[in-house]
Every structure is written in structure tokens, then in C-alpha cells.
């Protein structure tokens, strides 16, 4: 595609809130039908860049130029800007549920969007809406037309959002993390859809994502953003092969996909602004096939009541064993019941049937003070570190809370234990008096890990513990967890939706789908020759951070 005649030309875009400038001089040009990627971690300013292009960054001071076919959007009167928004420049957001009106039918919303940007009659708009639904791959558009957003799955909702965005035939489509809220298997389909639409309509697409794998197969050009600045811009093929900037290299080396070597720690290059020291290299704990099981889950069933007479089996006859000193990986997409398993294993929820035993003791027979004593030996690390830490307590208080709960040690003794545990997870004593909200997600997750470790447990349940972290932080936390396992002889139940991360962490893997464990086995065997078709499709759906292989992967799953 030619960039001589750019559709969108962003020049030195700056966005400021008071004294902070989260976007500080971003420039790029987008040609007709070109696919541009903006890649960065949270707080890099990538979403704000898109919002500012649309002039949707409220209360912000925006400067620079945003030229759409030579016309500066930043100086356009707001009446005309309204016509541009959703007309010539359209946007697709991360969460399709909150972007759709829940009390209006899909059809109504589509027709409304079309009529806003053209003088089509109700009948023509309706016909066009139906065409669009068909084009984005919503099956039976006639019937779906009069349904409400809640009757659509996440992926279908996102298709509707894309249909709405494309209905006006925009010149530019800004897609802000369009697949982040979706399952991997759906992700590929949505990216393919964007790809096809960009080709058919000649629309320039700006894909904003934190996922280097997604960007690899889709984008012609990739901008890497960090701290509000574009640190590197390059054609995708060049960027992934030979990144010029240190930060790009760090990002790329931190990516965990199915091609990485599991026997070596992920390379997290030292960054001058790293918020904690680099972890020592952690070889994986050896997989000792003879190790005795520490946790045994047998025929566990747990269902939830949906309404009168309506139940859903969140976990259906699940059985597995977790061996001492090893990691058992549990993979599944949203709604597969994997979090229910984690709660069942820790006796946080009563079971409908089956048993969970810990170190030979059936947890359902243990109650009261005895259960509390047993809890000292098993701990949990949650997905959202901000929610899992008491926002009113300092780091030292949070980490000391389990000690206090079990009346261990005196003040000075606890203080020392807390300091030692914080050091173990790579946090210095200067963090003692910080509050969770003043720390980054990675630091908070370290505090959560420290809290889990402070009682010297044998067993940790890690429920999506790295899913909300940025890639580079994720890599550090994964290395830390492996390192701790070897040093402390810990046993892990590692739960994640991300097959690649599970592959890196686990000795044994189980794949869960709709409450049922469809396949389980030794990590190497399972990944070498997956038997269940669902495992196959999960593996095939994971993007690879390499443009060539990623394109090949997508081509394969399409056929």
C-alpha cells in the first residue's frame, strides 16, 4: 500500500492532564488499506492516543495535528467532528458489552448508526445493516437482527461492534484492544475479520494492542510505545526480526508463546527503570515422576443455581493429582470452571460430590480450628492484585496479616519475617509502608505472593496470577515463581487461560472445557501430541510473535 498519500497523518500529538503528559509527541502516517499497529504496555498512552484522535479524551489538553486527508481534526468545529466520528473514522473498543446499549436490539442500534451517517431511509438502512451482519460473519442475520446484546456471545458482540463501525464505510478504523476481552479461539477469528474488511473496503486500520503476537500477523507497520512516546517504528517483518530499540527487544524477549524453550528462564533484560531487581536465572524444578501426590482431587462436582430449577455444572467429575514439588497446570477459557476448581481445592466452597484431599486428609472432614491450621500450608494468589490486597493497609500490614491470624511471633519477629519475605519476592524494605494503590500491578502481585509465602506453605494456588500483568512484568513474575519453587520446594496449582504460559510453568497439564477436564497428562507429551480436538484448537489459536509464522498459523486454522 502506498503511504505517499496518507489517509491519516498524526503529527507530534501531545495529550496532557495538568502537569502529566501521558502522550508526548506521537507521530505516524497511515496509508489507504494499511494496517498499523500500536503496541505497548499499560500506561504507555496507546489508548489515549486513539481517544485523542477521535477527540474523546475529556478534560485533556491535546496539541499537535491529526490530519485526515489533509484536514486537521483537532481544529474542526465539534459539529463537523461529530460527523467524522463513527463516519469517516470509526472505533472498536475492548469491551463490546459496555459499548452496546443493553436495552436496544442489535438491529435497532445498527440502523441508528447507519442513519446517523447517511440519509438512508429506514428500509435501506435495514437492508444495509443485514448485509453488514452477514459480512462480519454473524450467522442468521435475519433472526439475530431483533435480538439483544446479552443474547450474543462475546465474540459475536465484537462482530456487531465491527459491523457498526464499518457500516459507514470509514476511511480509518481504530481498534483498541479489540480481542483482549475475548477467548483465544475467538481472537483469531476477529483478527481475520478485520484483515478481510481492511482488504475489501480499503480501510486503514490502527490496531492498538498489548499483544505482540496479535500484532505480528496483522500489521504492516508497528509502532512501539512507551511512556507516551513512540520508541520504534518499523515494518513488522523488520521489527520482529531485528528490533532496534532496547525496549522493543525486552518486550519481544518477554513474550511467552508456544515456541519458547521451557527449560530456560525467560530473558527479561535489565531495564534502567525496572521496578525491581532482575531475578536470578531459574531452572525449572525437575519433574520427579516418583514424587508422592500432595493434593488429590477425586470426582469433584460443583454446580451453581442460575434460577429456579436451573443449574449449571461449573465442575463436572474432575479428578487429578498434584505431586509434591511440582506444578500442575490447569488451562481453560472463560467459563470453563477452572476458578471453581481453585476454590474447591482450597476448601473455600462446599462440594456437591467428590473429595479433595491434602496430604492424605479429606478436606471435607476437617473443620474449625483444625482447618485454619491446615490453611497455613496452602495459600492462594489471585488474578487482580489490586482487589486481592486490602486497600486500606500498608504492604507490611498485608504481609503480616497471616502471621497475626495464626498468632505467630511477636512484633519484632513478625517484622523480620515480613522483611525477609519481601526480599524473597524482590521488594526492598522501602515498600513496607506503601499502600497498594501507590504501586504498579507487578509490585502488588509480588506483595500478594509474599503474603502467600509468609506462612511457609507447601502448596500455592495461582489462579490467573499473571494474567493481568504486562508482558515484561509477567515474565519477571513467572521467573520468580519458578525460582521460588526450586528454592522452597513448593507445589503449585497453576491456573491460566494462556496455554503458552502454562506450558512454561507446569510439569503436568489438564485442559478444561465447560466444567470437564477433556485431557490431561505430562506437559511434554501433551504438547507434543494433543489428543483432544479442543486442545488442538487451543494450541492452534495462540498467536506467535513472529510475522511469518503467525501468518502461516492463521492461514492454517482458516483452512
Amino acid at each position: 500500500m502506498s503511504t505517499d498519500d496518507p489517509v491519516l497523518d498524526v503529527r507530534d500529538l501531545r495529550v496532557a492532564f495538568g502537569d502529566t503528559t501521558p502522550v508526548n509527541g506521537v507521530s505516524f502516517t497511515l496509508g489507504r488499506g494499511e494496517r498499523m499497529g500500536i503496541v505497548g504496555e499499560s500506561g504507555s498512552g496507546k489508548s489515549l492516543t486513539a481517544l485523542s484522535i477521535m477527540r474523546l479524551a475529556h478534560q485533556a489538553t491535546v496539541s499537535g495535528e491529526v490530519l485526515l486527508q489533509g484536514q486537521d481534526l483537532l481544529t474542526l468545529p465539534s459539529r463537523q467532528m461529530q460527523k467524522v466520528r463513527g463516519g469517516r473514522v470509526a472505533m472498536v473498543y475492548q469491551d463490546p458489552m459496555s459499548s452496546l446499549n443493553p436495552v436496544r436490539t442489535i438491529g435497532h442500534q445498527l440502523v441508528e448508526a447507519i442513519r446517523l451517517h447517511s440519509d438512508a431511509s429506514r428500509v435501506t438502512a435495514r437492508r444495509r445493516a443485514l448485509d453488514m451482519l452477514g459480512e462480519v460473519g454473524v450467522p442468521q442475520p435475519q433472526e439475530r437482527f431483533s435480538q439483544y446484546p446479552h443474547e450474543f456471545s462475546g465474540g459475536m458482540r465484537q462482530r456487531v461492534m465491527i459491523a457498526m463501525a464499518m457500516s459507514s464505510g470509514p476511511e480509518v478504523l481504530l481498534a483498541d484492544e479489540p480481542t483482549t476481552a475475548l477467548d483465544v479461539t475467538t481472537q483469531s477469528l476477529i483478527i481475520d475479520l478485520l484483515d478481510r474488511l481492511a482488504d475489501d473496503h480499503g480501510t486503514g486500520v490502527v490496531l492498538i494492542t498489548h499483544d505482540l503476537g496479535v500484532a505480528a500477523g496483522f500489521c504492516d507497520t508497528v509502532n512501539v510505545m512507551r511512556h507516551g512516546e513512540v520508541v520504534e517504528t518499523a515494518p513488522a517483518a523488520r521489527l520482529y526480526r531485528s528490533p532496534a530499540h532496547d525496549y522493543t527487544r525486552t518486550l519481544l524477549s518477554s513474550v511467552v508463546d508456544l515456541t519458547i524453550d521451557v527449560d530456560r528462564p525467560i530473558r527479561t533484560e535489565a531495564r534502567p527503570d525496572a521496578d525491581h531487581p532482575v531475578q536470578p536465572a531459574a531452572p525449572p524444578a525437575p519433574a520427579d515422576a516418583e514424587a508422592a501426590p500432595l493434593v488429590r482431587v477425586e470426582h469433584v462436582v460443583k454446580s451453581y443455581r442460575l434460577g429456579p430449577g436451573e443449574h449449571v455444572r461449573a465442575v463436572d467429575d474432575a479428578s487429578f493429582e498434584i505431586r509434591r514439588g511440582q506444578t500442575f497446570g490447569l488451562v481453560g477459557e472463560s467459563g470453563s470452571g477452572k476458578s471453581t476448581v481453585s476454590r474447591a481445592v482450597l476448601a473455600l466452597t462446599p462440594l456437591d460430590a467428590g473429595t479433595v484431599s491434602f496430604d492424605g486428609r479429606d478436606l471435607s472432614t476437617v473443620t474449625g480450628p483444625e482447618l485454619r491450621r491446615l490453611r497455613r500450608r496452602m495459600q492462594m494468589v489471585f488474578q487482580d492484585p489490586y482487589a486481592a490486597l486490602n486497600r486500606r493497609r500498608t504492604v507490611a500490614e498485608i504481609v503480616a496479616a497471616p502471621l497475626r491470624a495464626h498468632k505467630i511471633g511477636d512484633r519484632a519477629g513478625r517484622r523480620q519475617t515480613v522483611d525477609e519475605t519481601l526480599e524473597l519476592v524482590g521488594l526492598g524494605p522501602e515498600f513496607r509502608n506503601r499502600l497498594p494503590r501507590s504501586m504498579s500491578g507487578g509490585q502488588c502481585q509480588r506483595v500478594a505472593i509474599a503474603r502467600a509465602l509468609v506462612l511457609n506453605p507447601d502448596f500455592l494456588v495461582l489462579d490467573e496470577s499473571v494474567s493481568s500483568l504486562d508482558v515484561s512484568i509477567q515474565a519477571q513474575v513467572l521467573n520468580l515463581l519458578r525460582d521460588l519453587q526450586t528454592r522452597l520446594g513448593l507445589t503449585y496449582l497453576f491456573i491460566s487461560h494462556d496455554l503458552a504460559v502454562v506450558r512454561y510453568m507446569a510439569h503436568h497439564v489438564a485442559v478444561m472445557r465447560r466444567g470437564v477436564i477433556v485431557e490431561q497428562g505430562n506437559r511434554d507429551e501433551l504438547f507434543a501430541s494433543p489428543e483432544h480436538p479442543y486442545t488442538h484448537s487451543l494450541m492452534a489459536a495462540i498467536p506467535i510473535a513472529d510475522p511469518e509464522r503467525e501468518r502461516r498459523r492463521r492461514a492454517e486454522i482458516l483452512t
Partner: protein, 286 residues
């Protein structure tokens, strides 16, 4: 990972709150403290003995009698200060009772769940179904109204609403992962509720306390107005309003000044409740 999360955080940090909010809070706090101190220190603050009769009856507002005098020539300003002391004691006592009992009640219901929750909440519903004034009337008619009894009765009246509010707040908190984490590391129930949950709901408790305070003043004034509150010669603001109402045509100030005090106090308490409600450590509007 997703920028949609960092965005609001940034907005919170980067954009200062409008100053109006803080200014109003301090204004409300200042005025309330002034009233409270003035009334509690009535012995020193009052210019005259509230029972001393001067020759002037129904005098208008003047420098020597800022609110004028009543039918016996007593200084109304002094009577209002002494009356305010009683009003504040009754309202404060009632609020304390309501907050203490209501918090335990609501927390218990939320935490225990199941049948006990059902039972506790149905009792609360039953209490709320009885009109407040009627409830108070029965009690006051049965027992002679002393300040402490009044505080207790009004406190009991305000308890069910407080319990309901606390229950729903605690239920939301119990969903949070930090509570699950505390259960998982084996925190005993009392520690879980008092050390983990309680600090996180103190904002909402503050709001409820302010609302309870305002309601207590209103209920006490209503009781006094129908003659069932504190009996003369002792007087609360409510008693003063009742007496002033009967002598409206002799002196408007007799009615208006105590009424204005009630009005301003309740207004300021509600203002404070609003301002407190806008603050939440998570940055969301509560």
C-alpha cells in the same frame, strides 16, 4: 495490560477534584463544630442564666438578648444554647446506639448468611414497618422521657436502616478477593470482619452516622413538638419550637430562631454526608 484500566487511574491522579467539594466540607464541619462547642459549653458561652427572669417579656432581638426573650423574660439565646446541649446529647447518644447495634446487626447478617440473615433482616423490616413517631410515642408514653431514654429510643428507631445499609455494604466487600485471601490464609472470623472489612467500609459508616445524626435531631424535635419529649423547664430545640409556636403572634423570633438552628444543623449534617459519600479510596463515587 489493557489501557482501559489505566485510563481512569490516570484521570484520578491527573485531574484535581473541583475545590468546591472540599470547601463545602470544611464549611459544614466548621459550622457544626461551632454549634456543637457553643452548645456543649453553654455554661460558659451563654450570656445569661437560662432560667433567670428579666422584666422584659417577648423582647425582640437585641445586643443584650440576641434571640430576644420568652414569655417569662428568659434570655432565648441562652435557652437555645442549653437546649442545644440536650439536643446534641440525645442525637449523639442515639447515633452511637444506632451505629453500634446497626453495624453489628448488619455485619452479622451479611457474614452469617442463610437463615440467620433472613431472620435478622425480617426483624429489621418489621421494625421499619412501624411508623417511627408512633413507636416513639408508645415508649415515651410508657416511660417518663429522660434524655438518656430518649437517646436510646431514637437510637433503636434508627438501627434497622443502619443495619440494612451495613449489610449491603459488607456483602459487596465480602465478594472482593482480599476477603477470600484472608479466608484462605486462615484469618478467624472476627479478624476478618474487624481488621479487614471494617476499615474498608468506614467511609460508608461515616455517611450513615451523619444521616443518623440528622434524623435523630428531627425525631427528637418532632417528639418534643407534640409535647412528648423533654419537659419544661428543661428544653431542647424541639421544646423551644413548640413553645414558640404557641406564642408566634407575640414574638416571631421565639419560633424562628430555634427552628433555624434545627434546620441549619440538619442541613450541614446532610451536606457532610454528601461530601463523605463522594470519597472512596478506590476513587469511585460511593
Amino acid at each position: 495490560m489493557a489501557d482501559s484500566r489505566s485510563m481512569p487511574r490516570l484521570r484520578r491522579r491527573g485531574v484535581p477534584l473541583p475545590h468546591r467539594g472540599r470547601w463545602l466540607t470544611w464549611f459544614a464541619v466548621g459550622l457544626l463544630v461551632l454549634l456543637l462547642v457553643g452548645c456543649l459549653a453553654a455554661t460558659w458561652a451563654a450570656p445569661a442564666d437560662p432560667t433567670a427572669q428579666s422584666g422584659e417579656r417577648f423582647a425582640g432581638a437585641s445586643l443584650s438578648h440576641p434571640f430576644g426573650t420568652d414569655e417569662l423574660g428568659r434570655d432565648l439565646f441562652s435557652r437555645a444554647l442549653y437546649g442545644g446541649r440536650l439536643t446534641f446529647l440525645i442525637a449523639g447518644g442515639a447515633t452511637a446506639v444506632a451505629m453500634l447495634v446497626g453495624t453489628l446487626w448488619g455485619m452479622g447478617a451479611a457474614f452469617l448468611g442463610g437463615l440467620l440473615d433472613e431472620l435478622l433482616m425480617r426483624v429489621a423490616d418489621t421494625l421499619m414497618a412501624i411508623p417511627q413517631i408512633l413507636f416513639a410515642l408508645v415508649f415515651v408514653a410508657a416511660f417518663e422521657p429522660t434524655p438518656w431514654r430518649l437517646a436510646l429510643i431514637v437510637g433503636v428507631l434508627l438501627t434497622p436502616t443502619t443495619a440494612r445499609m451495613v449489610r449491603s455494604t459488607v456483602l459487596t466487600e465480602l465478594q472482593d478477593d482480599y476477603v477470600a485471601a484472608a479466608v484462605a490464609y486462615g484469618a478467624p472470623s472476627h479478624q476478618l470482619l474487624l481488621r479487614e472489612v471494617l476499615p474498608n467500609i468506614r467511609g460508608q459508616l461515616g455517611v450513615q452516622a451523619a444521616i443518623n445524626g440528622a434524623n435523630a435531631i428531627l425525631v427528637e424535635a418532632s417528639l418534643s413538638f407534640v409535647g412528648l419529649g423533654i419537659q419544661p423547664p428543661e428544653a431542647t430545640w424541639g421544646t423551644l419550637v413548640q413553645q414558640g409556636y404557641q406564642r408566634m403572634y407575640q414574638s416571631m423570633g421565639y419560633l424562628l430562631f430555634p427552628a433555624a438552628l434545627i434546620f441549619v444543623t440538619i442541613w450541614m449534617l446532610n451536606l457532610l454526608a454528601d461530601q463523605l459519600g463522594g470519597q472512596d479510596p478506590r476513587g469511585r463515587a460511593a
